[in-house]
């Protein structure tokens, strides 16, 4: 679905030096980025601000022409076949609106139908589905400027799907949304990916989005790809420790000599123990039975490393 090879984009910036002199210098926003995304995948494209995420998205959608490198999206060169491609992919920019501010939501959809030349029966089926799943009914006739952010984002996602795209690119889709709206949107997107087979490419700062939606993660920083792989593998690679948190019935000392446990932390006067262990050294099950052999266990939970931890460590590894 997406094929990116040695993609590079440079910008020329001018800075003032002295009263009339300007100095030009070149900034590489994206520097030899390569990755492939197969049809039906859901991939998270993450990185800190200024990493080159949005520049990549702009090249994938044909808005920007790459300085060099090879890009194919849905089999075409985006900047050459921009209009063709736009009819086959959907894009949601979380911080931008593609709806007409002064018109009712329904009118924006209708305009998009004309712009994307969607046959009316297809349009109506897709719109009905989105209205049902995203509960747009109550505000379909409200001018976009009067919608809440959560309502507007549901409108934005619908707008991106009316022409039945095979690939949906989402640039920070959940930014600024409250928990409930985020959850509703994620649920919808997950279903879109698994039921409909729509390929998802998602940039986000909200790592919960990735955790919920994307089995695969591409991490980018300063224009280059830092890591690319399944979230689980990346986690095992850079953050192999997991933590077993056990609550005991009675305060107990000395759980730090358990096999495979690297560090421990004790809370609540010895009632709660955090036992850090490596996947390679022992299993959660073995550790639990070892703890249970020594003390009466009231409750326990295994904590996976947080995804932002994973990303932070990837950055640090450079």
């Amino acid at each position: 679905m997406i094929e990116v090879r040695d993609l590079r984009r440079e910008f020329t910036l001018t800075t003032k030096v002295g009263r009339f002199k300007r100095k030009k210098h070149t900034v590489r926003a994206v520097d030899s980025v390569s990755f492939d995304i197969a049809a039906g995948e859901a991939v998270g494209y993450v990185g800190p601000n200024g990493a080159g995420k949005s520049t990549t998205i702009k090249m994938l959608t044909g808005i920007l022409v790459p300085t060099s490198g090879h890009v194919r999206v849905s089999g075409v060169d985006p900047s050459r076949a921009r209009r063709d491609l736009a009819r086959r992919i959907g894009v949601v920019f979380g911080q931008r609106s593609q709806l007409w501010w002064d018109l009712p939501l329904r009118d924006s959809f209708d305009l998009l139908r004309a712009i994307y030349r969607v046959p009316r029966p297809d349009y109506e089926t897709r719109l009905r589905e989105c209205v049902d799943l995203l509960e747009l009914g109550p505000f379909l006739d409200t001018p976009v400027r009067q919608l809440s952010l959560g309502q507007r984002m549901r409108g934005e996602v619908t707008a991106a799907l009316l022409h039945g795209p095979e690939l949906l690119v989402l640039d920070e889709p959940t930014i600024g949304l409250d928990l409930e709206s985020k959850e509703r949107l994620r649920e919808f997107l997950a279903e879109l990916n698994t039921q409909r087979g729509t390929t998802l490419l998602l940039t986000t700062h909200d790592l919960d989005d990735i955790e919920r939606l994307c089995p695969r993660l591409v991490v980018i920083d300063r224009g280059t790809v830092l890591a690319d792989g399944p979230l689980d593998e990346l986690r095992a690679e850079v953050a192999p420790e997991r933590v077993l948190v056990v609550d005991l019935e009675k305060p107990t000392e000395g759980l730090d000599d358990l096999p495979g446990v690297t560090t421990t932390r004790t809370e609540l006067n010895g009632l709660r123990h955090h036992l850090t262990f490596r996947r390679a050294d022992t299993t959660a099950a073995a550790l639990i039975s070892a703890v249970a052999a020594r003390a009466e266990v009231h409750d326990l939970v295994v904590v996976e490393p947080e995804i932002d931890d994973v990303v932070r460590r990837l950055y640090a590894r450079r």
Binding site: L13, S54, I63, R83, A86, Q95, S97, L111, I115, Y116
Partner: protein
């Protein structure tokens, strides 16, 4: 084509949602028309200046007042704002030709402006002042001339706005554009009032095509064909130039925003 027609219709509807702005604009327009009328009436009181008698002056002023909001004689900032804050990304990725899409929207705006901004001041002028109506045969030519004026104006505004891709802060360019347009398009005084040596220079710029041209066609000053040809030339020229400018922007320039 159908998509562009729908966009024009949407443009019409979008502008028609701002009724209060329309009423305020209309009132200001009439007041300024009276001021311009007063000045020019004094000027032609002793006798006609280069063919402008009081009826011609009244027609020139009130038609000009009406046309200025139809044609738009200042640099609007809609696209410039979208370039500055990065929203232009959305416009650039749609399956349309951005310049044509914006032109369609502008034609929708034009349609609404003809109803609420052109008709009232002209009716006001025709009611309270001597007025020169053209021959019926000139009316379709006036319609064509006005459409060409809108096209030239759109093309110029598109370019002034597109410069934002390079300058980011182009308030200077905007002000310069507005001042130049007002001076050279025939809004301050009829272009025939300029000295003879200046006229060919004026008409070799795109500015007269935006206002003086349709007014001259309405007033039946000379043959309409050279006027329409001049307008058509500028319409094509500014459109092509804008198209090239946009292409360069996408190749060379930072598209703002994350």
């Amino acid at each position: 084509m159908r998509a562009y027609a729908r966009l024009a219709l949407a443009g019409f509807r979008r502008y028609s949602t701002y009724r209060q702005a329309m009423v305020a604009g209309m009132a200001t327009n009439v007041v300024f028309g009276l001021l311009r009328m007063a000045v020019l009436a004094v000027a032609v009181a002793p006798g006609p200046i280069v063919g402008y008698d009081i009826a011609t002056v009244a027609t020139y002023v009130w038609l000009g007042q009406g046309l200025m909001s139809v044609v738009v004689l200042y640099a609007d900032k809609h696209l410039a704002e979208r370039i500055r804050n990065g929203d232009v990304v959305v416009d650039l990725y749609r399956p349309w030709h951005l310049q044509r899409a914006l032109f369609a929207d502008d034609l929708g705006r034009t349609g609404y402006a003809v109803l609420v901004r052109l008709v009232p001041p002209v009716a006001f002028g025709a009611l309270f002042f001597p007025f020169r109506w053209p021959d019926v045969s000139a009316v379709p030519l006036f319609v064509v001339s006005t459409l060409l004026a809108v096209t030239v104006s759109f093309g110029m505004r598109f370019m002034v706005n597109a410069i934002t891709f390079w300058l980011l802060d182009n308030r200077g360019v905007h002000s310069l554009y507005t001042v130049t347009t007002w001076l050279l398009c025939g809004l301050s005084v009829p272009l025939t009032f300029f000295p003879d040596w200046a006229k060919p220079i004026l008409w070799s710029t795109p500015f007269p095509a935006m206002l003086q041209a349709p007014i001259d066609v309405f007033l039946e000053h000379g043959s309409p064909w050279p006027i329409l040809a001049n307008q058509a030339f500028w319409a094509v020229t500014v459109f092509v130039a804008g198209h090239v400018l946009l292409g360069r922007a996408v190749h060379k320039v930072v598209v703002q925003g994350g």
